[in-house]
């Protein structure tokens, strides 16, 4: 039998440190390797398929649902009674305008908002000294674009700032597919006075696209390519980029106070 003669022959020819093939096979020969390869392929495909399915299922627990929108009551209390119009929050006659360039998927934007937004609203917007403009950008990915369109659609009902604040508070992992019709509806339905059906329909309106394009143009002309970035200036006048991207609230107050000092 040819197979049985192989071990002796190969052993004599085998180099030092190299185990002859027949020895590795235990003397039985290795002609079944095509079968082994096929078996490996099948096993690998099954294991990888299981891994991919498990990977796709991951993160489902983080889905935003109507009864799990964080911060709904606090946001309503914070913004209640403050005028909103489209992208603007605050008294239209406020002497200073603060523009925020942000991406709703940007984790730093969410962190900044959590740390500073309430202070700015309470100390500057509610008293009528500063009005805010949300100049939304969507450069991180598809989820950014969908969230931004929905925010502008909420802006049609003058609830953009409620929507952006809640979206930041309930932000998912970037581009993980967390922005869905269901999650947008969930956030919308947690905002008192917002018609969620109208909001969802308005996402594809021309006005929404125009608002997005305008903000992109403003960012481009100001050389803004990162978020969050802020501009401040007299309302109706030219805005200049300021370094508000800090959690040092005294530094933020100093910049806003400087802008207000220019008014008088």
């Amino acid at each position: 039998m040819a197979k049985q003669t192989v071990p002796a022959t190969r052993s004599k020819k085998g180099k030092k440190g190299k185990v002859p093939a027949a020895k590795r096979t235990g003397g039985r020969g290795n002609r079944k390797l095509p079968l082994i390869l096929a078996g490996v392929g099948v096993v690998a495909m099954v294991v990888v398929a299981v891994l991919i399915i498990a990977s796709q299922l991951g993160g489902g627990d983080d889905a935003i649902t109507a009864d799990a929108v964080e911060g709904a009551a606090e946001t309503q209390a914070l913004l209640n009674g403050i005028p909103q119009e489209g992208i603007a929050l605050g008294d239209p006659d406020a002497p200073v305008t603060l523009a925020e360039y942000a991406d709703l998927q940007c984790p730093h934007c969410a962190d900044w908002t959590e740390a500073n937004f309430a202070m700015i609203v309470d100390e500057y917007v509610r008293p009528g000294n500063v009005r805010l403009e949300y100049r939304g950008l969507a450069f991180i990915g598809t989820d950014s674009q969908e969230a931004l369109r929905t925010a502008h659609a909420a802006g049609d009902q003058n609830k953009l700032w409620n929507f952006t604040e809640l979206t930041f508070q309930n932000q998912g992992e970037p581009n993980s597919g967390w922005v869905t019709d269901d999650s947008m509806r969930a956030i919308g339905s947690s905002i008192p006075g917002l018609n969620t059906d109208l909001m969802m329909e308005a996402r594809d309106a021309d006005e929404v696209q125009v608002a997005i394009t305008v903000a992109e143009g403003q960012a481009e002309s100001a050389g803004i390519n990162a978020t969050p970035t802020f501009q401040v200036g007299l309302t109706g006048g030219a805005l200049v980029v300021v370094d508000l991207n800090t959690n040092d609230q005294d530094a933020i107050r100093a910049i806003l106070d400087d802008a207000l000092a220019d008014v008088t």
């Binding site: 040819a2 197979k3 192989v6 022959t9 190969r10 440190g17 190299k18 185990v19 002859p20 093939a21 027949a22 590795r24 096979t25 235990g26 020969g29 290795n30 002609r31 390797l33 095509p34 082994i36 390869l37 078996g39 490996v40 392929g41 096993v43 690998a44 495909m45 294991v47 990888v48 891994l51 991919i52 498990a54 990977s55 299922l57 991951g58 993160g59 983080d62 991180i140 990915g141 992992e173 970037p174 581009n175 993980s176 597919g177």
Partner: protein, 140 residues
């Protein structure tokens, strides 16, 4: 001295283990990855960075360690097992590369380095298995 291809498997496995250890450490110690673009944080923080609650970095570590373990004995079974593990790692790496490019829109350099190592392991372990077959065919 081990056979050059066996030595290559050992060396590549050790490089893979080093990368996976760093990624695992970064995840559990909650320290940032050395990454110029910031894409590493996006990938590492995404839901795709874990499978059934197990970090992908840990799965990679287990995979590389498994391949390294197969080099202890040079048998057909060990070679086939190494090839199977490398094939799984290679195929899953391709899926994760797709996720980075087309879902997350972010690239993790460390993941790419691991993909390169696993691809090399896939090729070398395939060649080792094929060598067995060719030797037997010639001998027959």
């Amino acid at each position: 001295m081990p056979h050059p291809m066996r030595a290559a498997v050992i060396a590549l496995s050790l490089v893979g283990i080093a990368i996976a250890c760093y990624l695992t450490y970064s995840r559990y110690a909650d320290v940032g990855l050395a990454c110029a673009t910031g894409g590493c944080e996006t990938v590492q923080g995404s839901r795709y960075s874990a499978v059934a609650g197990i970090p992908v970095a840990v799965l990679g570590l287990l995979g590389y360690a498994g391949i390294l373990a197969t080099t202890v004995r040079d048998t057909v079974f060990a070679r086939a097992a190494a090839f199977a593990l490398a094939t799984i790692g290679f195929a899953f790496g391709l899926y994760l590369l797709y996720v980075q490019l087309f879902v997350l829109d972010a690239i993790c350099h460390w993941c790419l380095a691991s993909d390169a190592v696993m691809t090399a392991l896939f090729v070398v372990t395939l060649l080792r298995v094929r060598t067995d077959y060719l030797e037997e065919v010639r001998a027959a």
